[in-house]
């Protein structure tokens, strides 16, 4: 067997690259067009609401009509005013900006992060009239996506008194709303117990006098 010369190797490589391009184009039609469009077709047929973004209306109902939606049930929104349950701190843009999803990317020893955590803790404790040590971790840390829709049941409970006062409702009624919107772990073991802030606030708005 003789070793191929460099010239013939270059020629062989050029021929293989041309073949590679033909193969790639055929695979692109199959995997890049047929596959995603087939998934879209089946997904839209079976799970239309989810496939379109789990959109909700102001009344809390499901919709696939983008013009009637107030947001996605899965994506958190910014709730600053005292009458709302607040979500977690968000590093996405100015807060819950879906065009800038992401976390703070501050390291575990970052002095800047420690300062932010201390400030958030003090602010929550002051607004809700609780001891700083009672403020749970999710209330003082920014999520990974900046769009986290959930808070912990502990953080929701902590806000009940203030939300009830601001909306002229009884503490018991608001606490009942929180309980109704608290989800356990999936299958009892997966993930964390959580309260969906958008759904909770939508329910609050329909209840509040």
């Amino acid at each position: 067997m003789t070793a191929p010369t460099s010239g013939s190797t270059a020629l062989a490589f050029a021929r293989q690259s041309w073949a590679g391009l033909r193969v790639l184009l055929v695979l692109t039609v199959l995997l890049g067009l047929a596959y995603p469009l087939a998934v879209t077709g089946v997904g839209q047929a079976l799970f239309r609401w989810q496939a379109d973004g789990s959109l909700v209306t102001a009344a809390g109902g499901r919709t696939t009509d983008r013009s009637r939606a107030v947001g996605s049930a899965l994506v958190g929104q910014q709730f600053d005013a005292a009458r709302w349950f607040h979500g977690r701190p968000s590093a996405a843009g100015d807060g819950y900006d879906t065009l800038a999803s992401g976390g703070s990317n501050l390291g575990p020893l970052s002095p800047e992060l420690v300062t932010e955590i201390d400030q958030r803790r003090a602010a929550v404790a002051a607004e809700d009239g609780v001891a700083p040590s009672a403020v749970p971790p999710d209330a003082v840390t920014a999520s990974a996506s900046g769009l986290d829709p959930d808070i912990s049941p502990a953080y929701a409970r902590l806000q009940v008194a203030r939300v009830a006062r601001e909306n002229g409702m009884s503490v018991a009624a608001v606490q009942r709303l929180v309980d109704e919107h608290t989800d356990g772990r999936d299958l009892g073991i997966l993930g964390e117990p959580r309260v969906d802030v958008l759904a909770l606030n939508l329910a609050l708005r329909t209840m509040a006098p």
């Binding site: 590679g20 799970f47 939606a69 929104q77 819950y96 999803s101 992401g102 997966l190 993930g191």
Partner: protein, 554 residues
Amino acid sequence: MEPTWIVLAQLGVVVLVLAATHVPLGTYMARVYSSARHLRVERAGYRLMRVDPDADQRWSTYLLSLLGFSLASVLLLYALARLQSWLPLDVGMPGMNPATAWNTAVSFVTNTNWQSYSGEQAAGHLLQMAGLAVQNFVSAAVGMAVAIALVRGLARSSAHGRVGNFWSDLVRGSVRILLPLAFVAAIALIAGGVIQNLHAFSDVSTVAGGTQHLLGGPVASQEAIKELGTNGGGFFNANSAHPLENPTPWTNTLEIVLLLVVPFALPRTFGVMVGDRRQGWAVLAVMGSLWALAVALTTWAEVAGPGLAPAAAGAAMEGKELRFGPAASALFAASTTGTSTGAVNSMHESLTAPGGGMTIFTMMLGEVAPGGVGSGLYGLLVLAIIAVFVAGLMVGRTPELLGKKIGRQEITLVSLYILVMPALVLIGTALAVALPVGRDGISQAGPHGLSEVLYALTSASNNNGSAFAGLGASSTFYDVLLGVAMLVTRFVPIALVLGLAGRFASQRTVPASAGTLPTHRPLFVGLVVAVTVVVVGLTFVPVLSLGPVVESLS
């Protein structure tokens, strides 16, 4: 935060599914790559492609086909990224600049999926589907093809360096293995809330009176293959932490399973194809041990939450989603770095110091815990060869693996393979911290800054793709440096592995004798684990000490 039994139960679900799929999927893949028959749709495809799927290629021709295909892939993806604004379904995204387009093209073709762009800002639907998702399939199929070629080399005797047909391996891996699994997974993800539509983004007035953009796109079809092919490139910037990519704890568990399922089934494929299933069990045991080590240490770090910021907050929840919590975030982090995937469901930069250090260490193992699709298996077989070589030196016998002698040329190829990744990581890191343009990207001074750069080079040089995302890596300097690292670390080892496959295929298989070291016993499993950890340890201890170790101790 969570009770120990919850941590273990979540892990148990993943392990159970992997255990249930190992034998059927592994055996099925062996049949796919061994069958002499083509599906009708494949035959039609080969006619359009005008390639011969039946030629039994020598290793060098196999390599040329692979390189030719990859070159075409880089060029087409580069063109799509540059020109997307001129094509349909661009949803208003401008074309990428040359450095970003180069980095992205190389990144997706090498199965790395490092992203120096933000999905919701820079990639239109057509680029996502016809460019990025296609590479998610085929770069994974290329990795599997190389692993299968090496397995064939070991299984064959006196075969004149012939290791199979690249085109047929590529098409079968894509069409018969990845496509059906991805389709089913995508539909399941949609049921869980992952979006799948072709809408452009539109404004919405929020409940509290602000505005937000409603997102759109073919996300589920991409999410499924991005995990399954151990690619990792997110449709959105927040990747698998984004509620529209990974909405619930159960979709999160499904995504963890997807990233592990093929790498953990390939040892079975290996065992079946070499006609000795015990060999497959041994490889599985090594991969499983390394993954278990990574999961255990990362989980411990994130659940315990040591360090200033986690202590101030009461738990390591910065950069984590509430629905996942520390345990499921740690499981994802260990699995995504162990498989060279690079998808993230938490921001790794904000992991605890020991947790972040573990993700770097797990990548440094070199894609074998259990590694990327295909690259995990061939990487591990290379380490097995080193282990038999070391054992052979100890007892003074010619080392052999599965009846193939490990001679001077074989061990030369293996040694070069082992050197490529560490050289890229260490030289690249040194370069980046030595040059002002490199230091400019660092977002936090001190040891954490070194960890940022080390993470980036380790990620690129292991075709992982995850990041300590505080690093400003969208500069031309990092685009080019990391692009070169990804390219070299993907294709040089592939060339060496195919060369090795060719040499094995040419050799006559010698029957085992009393002096042969059995490569399926626990002793050998332990030896391979030790070789892996020691090789990594000796290479990287100095730089790890200056970054994550100092951070953990301070």
